[in-house]
Amino acid sequence: MNRLSLVNTIVAAAALVAVGSACVAVFAANPPEAPAVLLIQNATILTVSHGTIEHGSILIKDGKIAEVGTSIKAPSGAQIVDANGQFVMPGIIDCHSHIGVDGSVNEGSISVSSIANIADVLNPEDIDIYRDLAGGVTTANVLHGSANAIGGQTVVIKLRWGQPAARLPFEGAVPGIKFALGENPKRSNFSIPGQPKRYPATRMGVEETIRGAFTEARDYKKAWEEYNKRAGAGEKNLIPPRRDLRLEPLVEVLEGKRYVHSHCYREDEILMLLRVAKEFGFKVRTFQHVLEGYKVADEIAASGAGASTFSDWWAYKVEAYEAIPYNAAIMTKRGVIVSINSDDAEEATHLNQEAAKSMKYGGMSHEEALKMVTINPALQLGIDKRVGSIDVGKDADLVIYDHDPLSAYAVVQKTLIDGRVYFDRERDVADRGTLEKEKKALLEKERKAAEKKADEKKAEEKKSGGKPEEKKPEDKPKPPKDATAAGGAL
C-alpha cells in the first residue's frame, strides 16, 4: 500500500473503508495436506544458524526438520520438492502485525485497555493472512493498536491459511500485551469532534498512566497472594479478592508470564518505560518501532529488551522526524537484538527486502540482515527453540525463493508451515482461471436474481393496477457490488 497510513488509528480507519469496499468473498482454501515425509532438494539453504549450504536438502518428517545436509537420500514415499536454483530460508517472522483481526485493532476509549484481547477476535479468513503468506511470512505477532498507554493483549500466530481461528495461535508462545508511548496514546494527531480530550495528553501523563496501573496491579497481586497463603494454610470462611480482568494481565507481566511489546518513537519515552519497568520489577520484552532507538541503544541493550523497527519509514509525524534507516544497524552494533517488522499487511509481503536495506544503511552483513526477520524476532517472541532457523528438530516453517531473498528481485515460490505447503505460487497462478469463472458465475446469479425480483415486482404492480407502490430503499435493485458484499459475510 502506499502509504502514508502510518498512524495506527488512521490505518484502522482506512482499513474499515477498504474492507467495506471489498466485493466478493474469498473462501478460505482448505488447508493443505500434511505429507508425512517431504524432501526439499538441490537448494541453496540459508540456515541462519550455521551458514549457507549449497546444493542442500532438507528432510521434513511430521512437520519438523529431520535432517539438513548435502547428501540426504529420499526415503521411500517421500514427497519431493525440487528447488534447483532456488533459495530456502526460515519462514519470516513479523514481530509487529495487525493481520487476521476482525474489526478495529484499537479499543481506544480508555487509556488502559488490558481487558481486551486480540486472541478473541482472530479472523482466519482475512485475506491479508494469505497475502503475507505469499510474501514468505509464517509467524506474526498480532498486536492491539497503539491508542492506549497500556493496550490490549496480543497473540503470536502462525499463518495457517484455511485452518480455523483456533489453529492460528502459535502453540506455547508466551502471550503479550501492547503498550504505547508518545503521540498515539496522547492522541496528538487525531481528535474526534464532540469527544472530550482523553487522559493522558502528554508524555508525562503516559508515564503516570502506566505507573498508576502497575501500582494497582501490584496491590492486587499482593491481595491474591495473601488470600492464597491464608487459604493454603487452611483458614476457613475467607473472602477472595474481587477479580479484576483489567489488572490480571498486568499481574502476569509482573510475574514474567506475559511479554510487554511497547510501541515507542522518541528516546526520552524509551528511557521512561525502562525506569518504570525497573520501579515495578518487570521487563520490557520488545520496543516496537523504536525509531529513535539508535540514540539510546546502549540503554536498550543493557535492559535486555529487543528492538523491532521499520527499515526506512520517516517524517510521517513529528516523532518520526529523526527516524533514520541506519537505526537497525546502530542498535545491532550496540548489542541490541533487532528485528524488522511491518505494522502493515503490505509491508509484511517484502520484509526480506526491508531487512536487506541494512546492508546499504549501516553495512550489515548478509547473515546479520537475514537474522532480523528470522531468528531475532523468534528470540524476541521467545519461540526461538521452535522457529527462526533451519535446524534439525525445529518446525518446518520455510520459504523458497527463486533468488537470493535479500533482493528486490526475489519472488516467493513456496511457503511452508509445519511441513505443509500453505502457499505455492505455481498453484496460485494455475487456480486463477477457476476463481475468475466462479466469480463470474456468482455475479451472474446475483444479477439474475435481482432481475427476477424486479420482474416480479412489475408484474405485481400491473396486477394491482393502481399507482406503483412507493419503493422501500431495500427493494431497490442494488448494484452487483453491494449485493455480493452481503454474500461476503458467508
Binding site: R3, A302, I330, T349, D428
Partner: protein
Amino acid sequence: MRRFGAGQAFLIGGVFVVAAQVAGAQSQAPAAYAITHARIFTVSGAPIDDGTLVIRDGKIAAVGANVEIPAAAQVIDGKGLQVYPGLFDAVTQMGLSEISAVSATVDSAETGLYNPDVVAATAILPSSEHIPVTRAAGITEVLAVPGSGGFDFSGSRGVIGGQASAIHLSGWTIDEMLIKKSVAMVVNWPEIETRTFDFATFSRKEKPFAEAKKEYEKQVSELTELLERARHYAVAVEHQKTADFRRDVKLEALVPVVRGQLAMLVVTDRGRDIRNAVEYADKQKLKIIIAGGTEAYKVKDLLRSKSVPVILRPPLTLPSEEDDPYDRLLSQPAELAKAGVRFAIGSFDNSFARRLGQNAANAVAYGLPYDEALKAVTQYPAEILGLGDQVGTLEVGKMANVIVTNGDPLEVTTDVRYLFIKGRLTSTDNKHQRLYEKYLNRPKAAE
C-alpha cells in the same frame, strides 16, 4: 557525510571510497567532469562497457567508448562503477509536505474544489529535509503534485488541484531548481464512491449508489462548465482590447488546458473512473495523463488505443479487491507493457520516494523486462511529462542529471557513489547520514 577534499578517503558502510571533490548542494563547481572506464547505461541506447561520460556547463557533452576528455575536466575514475541517468519520480509532494501529520508543514492541497491557478512551485521549500534524503537514493528530479492532503486518503481533495511543477533536487531557491513551473493541471477525477470514511465522526459512511452517482455527475458537469467558460475566456483573451474585458485568474490558468497545450494529470485508480476520465478528455479534446492507475489493466485496450499514458502507483501496493490475485499490482506493469500502454512508475509520496527503484525492481520480479523498468523511472516519466528533451536519458545536450553507482540502481542494496545534478557534483549528505554518524560515535553509556 561532510564535505571531503579531492582524493580523501572516507568510510561509507564499511567500504573505502576515494572521493573526488564532492561539493555541497550548490557550491562552486568545475565547469567540466569526465567519468571514465565506467559501464554506462544511457537508457536511450545500448550499455557501453568501458565508457566515458563528459559533463560540461551543466549538460551532457559527450558519451561513448572513445570520447575525448577536455583538458579542464575533473576526472572521476569509474572503474567498477555504473553510470545512469538520475531517476525521475513522476508523482511526489516534494517540498510541499514535510511532516504529513502536521498541517502547518503541509501545503499540498488548497481548500475548495476548483483551484487551477495555484502552482506547486510557489510553495516548494528548497531546504526541505526530504530533498537531500531523496537525491541520496539516486532521484535527481521529481514532479511536485498539488491537490491532495498530507495523508493521501484524507478525502479532502478538490477536483482541480492546481499546477504540478517539475524540479531537480539541488538549489538554493526554487528558481534554481525549476525544470518547468507548469507541467500539468492536476485533476482529481470525481469518483462514484458509495463508501467513505467520515473523519468528523470517525466512522464509515455509506450512501446509495444513485446518490453517489448524482454527486459524481454534478462535479463532472461543474468541471465541464468551467472548461467551457475557459474556452470562451480563451477567445476573449485574443480580443482583449475591448474595454470590458475582465481578467479571471482561474479561467486564465485553464486556457492552456483547453487549448491542448497543458496536459491534465488526472488522478484516478478504478477501471470505471479511468474509462470515464479518458472518454471525457477525448470528447473535450484535452491532453490527459492518468496518475494512480491501480486498475489500469482493466482498461488497457482503451489506454493503448487513445495513447493515454499512465503514471502508476507503487507496484508494492495491495490489490484493491479482496479476490484480486495477491500480485495484482506487482504484475500490472508487465501486463501494461505487453499491451502497449505507455507508463511510468511514481512513488506518490515523499518519505517513500527513495523506494522508487525498489518498486520498479519488484515489477521486474513479476515479469516486466528490466529495460522497461529502468525506463519507467527515467526516460518514460520525462517523456510523459513533456520533458523528454531535457532529462531522462544520457544523451548529449540533455541536463546532466547523472548517478554513478556500485550496481543496479533499482536494487535495494545499491549505493549511489556520485551524484550530478545539472552538471554539478552534488553531495549525498543528508539528515539521516548526519544522525547516523553522530550516534554511531556516541560514547558508550555509563552502566
